[in-house]
Symmetry: C2
Subunit: 407 residues, 2 copies
């Protein structure tokens, strides 16, 4: 039940319903109680929140994105300052992704292209070519052309210095066919081996590598990819790629994947952070989640609320403070919330700020949403500890939630 | 040396060089050590800073603007929630202005109009008419037409509920001629009497009224206006109107005005907040200053620095963190600063944020600038206490500073 990796550890402390588990993930920069939510400090900063505000919201771990940081300010700038933890002032546990997801999603033109299954290389795209060697793309910052190979991704992630890093993969879109998904998955496996080799050649005990399960919505491909990840000495697992067209398909794929995946390792579900999706993931043994949802909805006036605080006639996880019903509402976002925002500000005031000082309203709502997500994960861990997870899941049963996140 | 007004007091604790003085301004929401800087929470919120961040920067007092708040969310919304101190969560001492400055400056078209001395009423202006009764203007929020009279301004300020409020005046632009300035000043005096009357009719001991000295750049008009303000029972004095074309003219007008003004009352210099201007004002007996400068320059990458921390070859009060010389600079904005920003973030990181997450960089710089201004005022008070004000003034001698502020 324990794997020791120098300063790294993952201990399963207790098991709950289904494959759920309470865990402790140890890194050189601190420990993470799991299940945990990883906040997206995409460009080495959270949107709308300072590191102090993030800490005050009880945050345990954040991630940054290799794609954005390799372009601006450049990983060498961050390396010179001792890595992301020092550069950002966060100093706690961190993860970086490989850059693959953004190259393939941001580079892919628009959603219509994806739905129509068009391939994603063309004149007006930032992704210029995709070969066995890697992905060539144009910087959205200054137009320079970059080649991201597995070796380059690991090198950049080494310079960025997060505790947890991941292999380079191609994140296949939803509507490509099975043969493309299979060929892409197999190339991602070869990239994963090259990522692993480069990682091992430079391993100084300061970082641990996660493998990624691909295979799209195809059970046999997922099985093949799980076998690949299980067979290689990754510290952690990540579940990636297209998870389907709707929640039910996503839940099936997560269930299938998790049923076969190595259970000794910490396992991350990439880009998923809806409340019901978190409950479902925990049930199948997911240890960590990430999503831009908490800060993104804040920028649209959306404040996360517990089921008993939501609007009548709404199944949504959040209330929209732009709504004029809040103009004179003197209550905090949630009267039973201990965050800085709920301690000091009314819905009416935030409604006013959304019109008059939007940037500040985003901060106040994001502060609440970050606290909310950490509080939710704390409730889940407490329920696992007290054998009341099933009751908690019932109590938090939402109908509508967002399917997935993008960066 | 002491005037008692129920929960209000202004005590001069000690006198220094020139007319400088150390004071204590008492309000129902707390005390203010003077000389003090009043931060502009224009729309019932600071730009880029939460109330907690403002408090952490040792802020004593903030102001909000009647003009903005009467349009959005409306003073009645704020009154229903117990006033600005509760609405904003600030809960400390506050001042509101009368709305006049914004109507006449925002309504006045562009700077060229002002310099050419054109009158400021026209089709494309928000100011529609200016009569003995008051000013009629169009809301920039929804196009509705409002009439702001002295009585209405005081009523709105009563609903907003700040501790310190001011009479409605016309803020005359710089380049109008003497006869216009004189007529405007005399109307402002009549408006001040109407403001005072309305204030007295509803006085419940919760607010105190400041009179405003007008008279533009004309010594005889300033004398007349000072006599008017001295002769009426205002709690405080404010020095307003056009202060001239350059620093030397402003200093002359401030010196002349202050030499004649009632010295028992707390005295505010409207819209001035450059460092050298503050030293000059303190020397002439000014107790409080306000300016949007600290947060405005933050939004352009400008971080205030002490004279010994400024760039060589620069007389400016701030460094511009957009400059590429800061790309790899691992130092904080100021290594001898105790603010949250300097404790946790490098110039390099803020330089990166200015490009990648501007809103967050504005917050980090504004946090420093707010701390900086409060620290400066603390240094001034300490020097007055220790009889070292002249030495401090020498040490902080800048050449370039901004002339004035707008909202």
């Amino acid at each position: 039940m324990q794997e020791s990796h120098n300063n790294f550890n993952f201990n399963v402390l207790k098991r709950g319903p289904g494959s759920s588990r309470l865990g402790l993930l140890t890194t050189p920069h601190g420990t993470v109680n799991t299940p945990a939510f990883i906040f997206c400090a995409t460009k080495a900063a959270m949107k709308s929140l300072t590191i102090e505000q993030l800490r005050a919201a009880n945050t345990q771990i954040i991630l940054s994105n290799t794609y954005h940081l390799m372009l601006q300010p450049g990983s060498e700038v961050i390396a010179k300052q001792g890595g992301l933890q020092k550069f950002t002032g966060w100093r706690g546990p961190m993860l970086t992704d490989s850059g693959g997801f953004q190259i393939f999603s941001l580079g892919s033109g628009n959603v219509a292209d994806e739905i129509k299954g068009r391939r994603l290389v063309g004149n007006d795209k930032t992704l210029l070519s995709l070969t066995e060697e890697g992905a060539k793309f144009r910087s959205y910052v200054d137009g320079r052309i970059y080649m991201l190979t597995p070796e380059e991704s690991i090198k950049i992630q080494r310079e960025l210095g997060a505790d947890l890093i991941v292999v380079l993969d191609e994140c296949t879109p939803f509507h490509v066919d099975k043969s493309y998904t299979k060929a892409s998955m197999q190339r991602s496996h070869r990239w994963a081996l090259r990522s692993l080799k480069n990682y091992q050649e430079h391993d100084d005990g300061k970082q641990k590598l996660y493998g990624i399960v691909q295979g799209g919505v195809y059970p046999d491909l997922r099985r093949e990819s799980v076998a690949f990840v299980n067979d290689n000495p990754f510290f952690g697992n990540a579940v990636g790629g297209s998870l389907g067209a709707d929640k039910s398909q996503m839940y099936d794929i997560v269930a299938l994947t998790m049923s076969m995946l190595n259970k000794q390792r910490p396992t991350h579900l990439l880009g998923i952070g809806g409340i019901s999706d978190i409950f479902n993931g925990v049930l199948h043994g997911i240890d960590t989640f990430d999503c831009v949802h908490p800060t993104r909805i804040a920028r649209h006036g959306g404040a996360l609320v517990k089921p008993w605080n939501r609007n009548e006639n709404s199944n949504r996880e959040h209330i929209n403070l732009r709504n004029s019903i809040y103009k004179l509402d003197q209550n905090p976002i949630e009267s039973d919330c201990a965050c800085m925002t709920c301690a000091n500000y009314s819905r009416s005031y935030i409604h006013h700020l959304l019109k008059s000082e939007p940037a500040l309203s985003f901060t106040l709502i994001a502060q609440h949403n970050a606290f909310f997500m950490n509080d939710l994960m704390h409730r889940i861990r407490t329920a696992l500890q007290n054998d009341t997870f099933t009751e908690l899941h019932q109590e938090w049963n939402y109908i509508e939630t967002p399917l997935a996140c993008e960066v």
